[in-house]
Amino acid sequence: MAVVEKVKESEKVVSREFKEYIRPPVADPGFDESIKKLTPEKIEKTINAVLNMMGGAATFVAPLKTCIHCALCSEACHWYQSHGKDPTYAPVAKLRMTLWEMIKRKGKVSPEFIKQCARISFCECNLCRRCSMYCPFGLDITFQMGMVRRICYVLGVVPQSLMDYDNSLSATLTQLWINQADWIDTMQWQEEEVRAEIKNVRIPIDKEGADVMWCPLGTEPKVATYHIARTAKVMNVAGIDWTVAARDGWDAANMSMFARGMETMQRIVRGIFENALRLKVKRIVLTE
């Protein structure tokens, strides 16, 4: 059975708009500090800009016109399942509390409401797309939640850790502020480490014409270097002609996609593809 989190009476956060939405408080400077900078005009302008742009997208408009409010998507959501079937965790309920309300009020919402939207879209939904597999119409609920994230992102209301990843990616194209020298140095260091076990192992850097270009996550060179050593062992024992890119655009951790920072998101993907074209590789292999 699911364990229902008991919220202390004195601490609980009750939504002003939805009396059913009761949560324990969470302190995140990404939410609490950034909503202080918001004004109603800025919020209205941002929401309407995003919604107007999405008004031309059929994948956004069709679900709004089709959803019959049957709540058959609820069972799909692990948040709903693991919170004692609290109706406010159902996928359609999350849309009702965020996007539908923004549309209904034409973007005239308070900073507190944006904080609540950010909490729902970032912290109570993983964008796993399971709900669209349970919806009889196959409506892409996740895409709509992603747009709520996008609105929050444009307003700067994003969980602090995620915003830091996004900042790092936008500045260095790596998740964890790794510079090029550190990256190359780490690969050479790991090559030496593996050579203690397998004779003459290579981690080829920038080898043109290799079959495979491997793109790790930024976490691997930063804190989990043994993953690089293991990958090197696997590639060498399997006899794969592989390489890693020396230039920026080797990090496959697309955290900006989760934050819906579309601008950085596409730069990351473009960086990887440009490296692959430059090195003339046949395949790109990513860590997951």
Binding site: T59, V61, T66, I68, V92, M133, C135, F137
Partner: protein, 224 residues
């Protein structure tokens, strides 16, 4: 009011011009709405390149067969009710004997008819399914949370043509002629409402399922 609604001119109005209006709005509106959604989708980069006829048809079939998809199997009661409801809602009006007689009298065309008793049962199923959906909207917490007035309205739009039709056939409550006029008005309201309300899920179903079915097919997975 009673005299007004039973007057012959009202009868000939709802039986004549209003039927034309209802059918023209229904067919024209449906085509217009579907077409504009398809045109909108064409402008988007991620829809049409992925659309695939095989995967779309697989998706339609998979979700139009009761208990085929996972969610239908997880909720046997709702699946049974919703399938019986939709079958009754769509096929009873098309194959009802009295409707077919009207077609024959007007245009001299005929097709299959349901037996009177079967049509009666299907109508009752639709009526009780509407009540089931209403109770679900009121008492199931997850549905209640996302229920708006418009949800009750579209439920009523689907309910009243069948309810008045049933009463007219059995000649309960009001005189036959009054009830039949009410029945025709409600039926025409329903036809007109379909393209402009969320009752339009009738044709949007095929668009949204084609998209998600192709999306899953493209990724070599089934759409549950």
């Amino acid at each position: 009011m009673y005299d007004f609604i039973t007057s012959p001119s009202i009868y000939s109005f709802v039986r004549g011009p209003l039927v034309w209006v209802a059918f023209i709005v229904f067919i024209g509106g449906s085509i217009y709405k579907t077409r504009s959604m398809i045109l909108l989708a064409k402008k988007q980069k991620v829809v049409f390149p992925y659309l695939d006829l095989k995967f779309s048809l697989r998706s339609f079939l998979h979700w139009l067969i009761p208990f085929d998809s996972r969610n239908w199997r997880l909720r046997p009661v709702i699946t049974t009710v919703t399938f019986l409801f939709h079958i009754g809602l769509v096929f009873t009006p098309i194959f009802l004997l009295s409707h077919n007689i009207l077609w024959y009298e007007s245009w001299g065309i005929t097709w299959w008819t349901l037996s009177e008793s079967l049509a009666d049962i299907m109508t009752l199923i639709v009526i009780f399914a509407c009540i089931f959906f209403l109770l679900r909207r009121i008492f199931a917490s997850e549905v209640k949370f996302v229920t708006f007035y418009s949800d009750y309205l579209i439920l009523a739009i689907a309910f009243f043509p069948f309810f008045t039709g049933f009463l007219a056939y059995h000649q309960f409550l009001l005189p036959y002629k009054t009830m039949v006029i009410l029945h025709m008005i409600f039926g025409e309201i329903m036809l007109i409402a379909i393209p402009f309300t969320r009752l339009g899920h009738m044709f949007y179903f095929f668009l949204t399922r084609a998209y998600i079915g192709s999306d899953h097919g493209y990724r070599h997975s089934k759409d549950w």
